[in-house]
Subunit: 207 residues, 2 copies
DNA sequence: GAAAGAATTGACCATATAGTTAAAAATGAG
DNA sequence: CTCATTTTTAACTATATGGTCAATTCTTTC
C-alpha cells in the first residue's frame, strides 16, 4: 500500500477535481495543488490530462460497478433481496454525492473511455446478466410477464435520482427534507413499499 | 419576432453548445460558428461568455419551469391529473434529452445564476406551492398522512432519470429498449401503475 | 560512500481561447 | 443622396492552461 503512494495520492486528488468539475472544467494545476505536489510531477506520473482522466475513471468505477453487479446477482429471497438492494444503492450513492451526476454527464459527452470501462466490466459477467437474473428472480415469484427492464429503471431511478437532484429538490421542497438525519431511512421504506405494492402485489400481474 | 432575430439566433446556438458541453466545455468560437456569425459579434450582443450563459439560462428555463408549475397545480381529478403529469414529464424530457442532465450538472456547480433563476420563478407562485398543492390533492383522496415530498421525489425520479441515464441504461439493458417506438408509452403506463398501486391503493394509508 | 537511477522541482514554452479594436458595410432618417 | 447610427468583420491582444526540460534532490545498490 505504501508502494505507489504518490500515484494513489494523485488519483485521489484528481478524482475529486474531475468529479466536481468534469473533464473540461478540471485544472491540472488544481489537481497538483490538492495533491500538494508540483504540476510537472503530474506529467511525470501520468503523461497527459487525458491519461490521468482515464486512470481516474478506472480507479473510481471498476470496484464500484463490480460491487453493484454482485449486489444485483446475490441469491436471496425476494423481500430481503429488495430491501438490501434499495438500502445499498441509497447508501452508496448518498455517500458519493458527485458520483452519479458525474457518470451521467460524462457518459453523454462522447468520451470513449467511460463506455469502454463499463463494457469491459460488464463483459466479465456473462452477457445480459443483469436482466436475465432479475427476470429469473421475478419468475420465481410468479411475475414472469413483468418486464425486467422496467424493474431496473424503476429501482435505479428511485434510488439514484433524489441524491443527484438534491440542489434542485432543496429549492422546490426546502432544505429540511435532506438534512433530516432519518432521510435515507424514510426513503428506503418508501421505495420498498412502492415496489412491493406497485409491482409485486399489483393486481393483474400481466403486462 | 423578426426584431432581435440575431439575438435569438445566438441564444439558440449558444443553448445547444452550453447544454451539450456545459459552461467550461463550451467554446465561444463554436457558438459563433453554429450561429453562422463572427466571434466579435457575439461580444457585441452579449458582452461576455458569462453574460451570454446567463441569458441562455433565462431563455431556456423560465418558460420551461412555468409550464411545469402550471402542470402540477392544474385542477383535475386524481387519476387523469396523474396520467397527464406523467405523460407531460416524460414527453418534455425525452424531447430535450440534454436538458435535465444539464440542470443537474450546473445546479451542483456553485454557479449562482441558475439557483437565482429557479428561486425567482418559484417565487412567482406562492411560497411552498408545490408541496402544499400536492398535499391538498392527496388529502382529497384520503391520503392525508402520505408525505408529499416522497410523492414529488418518486414522480420526478421515475419520469426524468431514465431519459437522462439513457447511455448508461443502454449499456446495461441493450439499445433496443429505447429505440422501441412505444418506449415512452410503455413507460408511461408502468409509472402510472406503480404510483397508483404503490401509493394510492397501498394497504394501510398511514405513513 | 559513490555511482546510477528515480523522483521532484522551478522556470519555461506553445497553444487555445475569451475578449478588444479599428475599420468597413449596412441601415435608416432627413 | 448624405450623414449618422447600428451592425458586422478581420486582425489582433492578453491570459490561462496543458505540457516540457534541464537541473536538483532523494533512494537504492554495490
Amino acid at each position: 500500500m505504501a508502494i505507489n503512494n504518490i500515484k494513489n495520492l494523485i488519483l485521489s486528488a484528481a478524482g475529486k477535481e474531475f468529479l466536481v468539475r468534469g473533464y473540461s472544467g478540471a485544472r491540472m494545476q488544481a489537481i497538483a495543488d490538492k495533491a500538494g505536489i508540483n504540476k510537472a510531477l503530474l506529467h511525470y506520473h501520468f503523461s497527459s490530462k487525458e491519461k490521468l482522466y482515464n486512470a481516474v475513471l478506472r480507479d473510481q468505477f471498476a470496484s464500484f460497478i463490480e460491487s453493484l453487479i454482485e449486489l444485483f446477482l446475490r441469491e436471496e429471497d425476494l423481500e430481503p433481496w429488495l430491501r438490501r438492494l434499495i438500502a445499498r444503492l441509497l447508501r452508496e450513492f448518498s455517500a458519493r454525492p458527485q458520483f452519479s451526476r458525474f457518470i451521467i454527464w460524462e457518459l453523454n459527452s462522447q468520451g470513449k473511455e467511460l463506455p469502454r470501462i463499463f463494457a469491459e466490466v460488464l463483459a466479465q459477467s456473462e452477457e445480459g446478466t443483469f436482466l436475465k437474473r432479475i427476470e429469473s428472480r421475478l419468475r420465481q415469484y410468479g411475475l414472469q410477464s413483468y418486464p425486467p427492464q422496467q424493474f431496473l429503471m424503476n429501482i435505479l431511478s428511485l434510488c439514484i435520482y433524489p441524491g443527484m437532484a438534491r440542489p434542485l429538490l432543496e429549492q422546490v421542497m426546502g432544505k429540511e427534507v435532506f438534512s433530516d438525519p432519518n432521510f435515507v431511512g424514510q426513503r428506503e421504506e418508501e421505495i420498498f413499499r412502492l415496489i412491493k405494492y406497485g409491482i409485486f402485489l399489483r393486481p393483474g400481474g400481466e403486462k
